[in-house]
Amino acid sequence: MTTRQMQAHPAGEHEAAAAIQHGDSGMPTALLGMLLFIASEVMFFGGLFATYFNARATTPGAWGPPEGAHELDIALAGALTAILIASSFTMQFGVWAVRRGDTGKLKMWTGITLALGVLFLMGQIYDYSQLGFGIADGVFGTTFYTLTGFHGAHVFGGAVGLTIILARAVRGQFSARNHVAVEAVSMYWHFVDVVWVAVFSTIYLLR
């Protein structure tokens, strides 16, 4: 066992540590964390989609709401899709605004995105109330509510995130240089939107 003579790297260490946190060298660490988390969420929905596809492929007879219940409301779902897609655009406008340093526009676009998200949630709840079948009503009911329900829960989570960055934006905490939270929440919001497009296409279009 020997003792070691070390050569110091004080400058390198300092710069490296600061660079890591500020993301001067590549993506900010917090944003990488959010992307990784989103990857895990993609796999979670993958599991739920797998149950839907397997159920669809192996269930005999007609595939859809049980006897006596309403057919799925494609028009409403289509409107909800349009709302969510629009909200991704508005979210991105907000991100571009803050990258330019325009915190006023950031607040506006974030507020609009949040409003659209809440509108989506209300629409989803309204849809549920009109459907006439539940999670316990057969394979279709189970898979339908599980898939759309967990998606809705993720929209709610995204709405919470949007509220937080809206509040912080109002308090003037974001700048062109420092707005990682906005980027992170926007990534999550786009993910929620993409999942909805997949849910909508699968359940309402592909059937």
Binding site: L32, L36, F45, T51, A55, T58, T59, G134, I135
Partner: protein
């Protein structure tokens, strides 16, 4: 409550140690918490194993009725996998990876602490089934529709507890990946990272992508059991094979999650105790990545006998995954070849890993063949295979890591003679316990049965197996004595008791709160080796000496 600037006193003043450990966000303390917690669960699950083996030693029901027996093997498997092996390896990862990278901590220290604390709480939920009418009893694989219809709250507690544990894993995986990509010391390119860090990285990716699928399945199962869902129960239109697909899509990457870090530990130990560099570093890295990728393509080899899977595809992919594993085997052997072997306890466990995992791997390749698998599915042959890879592989890896890194974590060396006694009783006991199970399986003894006929001809091998199991239990005694005695009054270890190659040995034992006062220059995957032995004094040359100049400020400034 949480401060952000370092309190200079933080590493030197002593508050109540209970509070200190409850509120720590230091990766080293969190690593120790993981390890201690996982060993507690190891003992609990080990006791369950002893109960199982005691019951099975001779025909006839002795003291475990069928319901209790089912709970025993269910909890044994669940606890061992989810609350012992993975957390133990995670704990070593937590402690060692930032040190090996030259980083001051993990990327997200508070989330790191959250990942830990979810574990004992999840484990408590799972175990508490015993207090409320019976723990889960459907096997650690929780097959539907048995789990759909199981009465009582034990299965629901199992589902909820596992969801907590799974979430903890996923958060930990995010942390490890972010740390490895963003917090390496200057000069440490990806291909200079220790192999242990590489295996932790690939493991983290597997956890990130596979565990959420389990979570989805568990939630679906909960919905079936509690809210009238129809996912898996055929009596309401569900598909039980769907559960198997979802579970094993997670379950197979899971076994690689369990083995890869242990392979990483062995890859750290063999070079140090052979006084030779690891043979084929790059091949190792690519083999690990290949195993990670392939692990997602083989899941249905657990389901050959359902009649619902494409046998040739899954058989082929499973056999394929033996190739990168074989490459690793040969690289390990080549590392040992002509080395100056030092047979200290960490090395003994590493060598034990090599031999036991080899046997487990061979029985695995046998199982990859449907003609064989159809005959031995759900028999003790599979139980033998899984214990050779999980126990002979991962658990030997955990003990190797314990003996190797204990000096770094505590500043004291574990006693060598006691370590050797532990190893040998453990090794002999392990083989006595599990080798006979190969034969039992071939003779047709099914798994998960609490009793068997005296006419079956299985009695002798079962008795031998039970003796082996108790030997394993006995071997833990010198281990515990060793750990406790060394904690209290062990011989001081110094910074680098094993003459290691990697950065964790370049700081004190245990390291200060911020890990390093200063880092040595990093030009290769053995930065400490080159510091001691100098460039050009050994047969090895650090890689890319010329290309280094750009990324090493010291060399650029002409100081090196």
């Amino acid at each position: 409550m949480a401060t952000t600037t370092l309190e200079p006193r933080a590493s030197t003043y002593r508050r109540s140690w209970v509070l200190e450990w409850l509120t720590t966000v230091d990766h080293k303390k969190i690593g120790i918490l993981y390890i201690v917690n996982s060993f507690l669960f190891f003992f609990a699950a080990g006791i369950l194993a002893l109960l199982i083996r005691s019951e099975l030693a001779i025909p006839g029901i002795q003291f475990l009725d069928q319901a209790t027996y089912n709970q025993a093997f269910t909890m044994h498997g669940t606890i061992m996998l989810f609350l012992f092996i993975i957390p133990a390896l995670s704990g070593f990862g937590n402690y060692i990876v930032p040190l090996q990278l030259g980083a001051p901590d993990m990327a997200f220290p508070r989330i790191n602490a959250l990942s830990f604390w979810l574990l004992p709480l999840g484990g408590l939920l799972i175990f508490s089934g015993y207090l409320f009418g019976g723990a889960a009893a459907e096997g650690w694989t929780g097959y539907a529709p048995l789990t759909n219809r199981a009465e009582g709250v034990g299965t629901d507690l199992w589902i909820v507890g596992l969801t907590l544990v799974g979430t903890a894993s996923i958060l930990g995986a995010v942390n490890f990946i972010a740390t490895i990509f963003k917090m390496r010391a200057p000069g440490m390119t990806l291909f200079r990272m220790p192999i242990f860090v590489w295996t932790v990285l690939v493991t983290a990716v597997l956890i990130l992508l596979a565990t959420p699928v389990l979570t989805a399945g568990l939630i679906a199962l909960f919905i079936d059991r509690n809210y009238g869902g129809s996912f898996f129960d055929p009596s309401v239109g569900g598909n039980p094979v769907l559960w198997q697909h979802i579970f094993w899509f997670f379950g197979h990457p899971e076994v690689y999650i369990v083995i890869l870090p242990a392979m990483g530990v062995v890859s750290e130990i063999l070079p140090v105790f052979s006084r030779k560099p690891l043979f084929g570093y790059r091949a190792f890295v690519f083999a690990t990545i290949a195993i990670g990728l392939l692990s997602f393509s083989v899941w249905a080899h657990h389901m050959f006998t359902t009649g619902s899977v494409l046998l040739p595809f899954f058989s082929f992919m499973t056999a394929l995954i033996a190739i990168p594993t074989g490459i690793k085997m040969f690289n390990w052997l080549a590392t040992l070849w002509r080395g100056k072997l030092i047979l200290a306890t960490p090395m003994l466990f590493a060598l034990g890993f090599l031999s036991m995992f080899l046997i487990g791997g061979i029985s695995g390749v046998m199982l990859a063949s449907p003609p064989i698998d159809f005959h031995v599915q759900d028999t003790y042959f599979v139980v033998a295979h899984l214990h050779y890879v999980f126990f002979g592989g991962s658990v030997f890896g955990v003990f190797a890591a314990m003996y190797y890194w204990f000096p770094k974590m505590t500043g004291r060396k574990l006693n060598e003679p006691l370590g050797k006694i532990h190893f040998w009783i453990h090794f002999i006991g392990f083989n006595l316990a599990f080798f006979p199970m190969h034969q039992l399986g071939l003779d047709g003894m099914p798994r998960r049965i609490s009793d068997y006929s005296a006419d079956a001809g299985w009695t002798l091998l079962n008795m031998v197996s039970t003796v082996g199991a108790f030997m394993i239990a006995v071997s833990i005694i010198p281990f515990l004595i060793n750990v406790v005695a060394t904690f209290i009054n062990g011989e001081p270890a110094g910074d680098d008791p094993w003459e290691g190659n990697t950065l964790e040995w370049a700081t004190s034992s245990p390291p200060p709160a911020y890990n390093f006062d200063r880092l040595p220059p990093i030009h290769s995957e053995r930065p400490l080796f080159y510091l001691t032995h100098g460039h050009g004094h050994s047969a090895e040359r650090p890689d890319d000496l010329e290309r280094d100049a750009e990324d090493d400020p010291e060399r650029r400034d002409g100081l090196a």
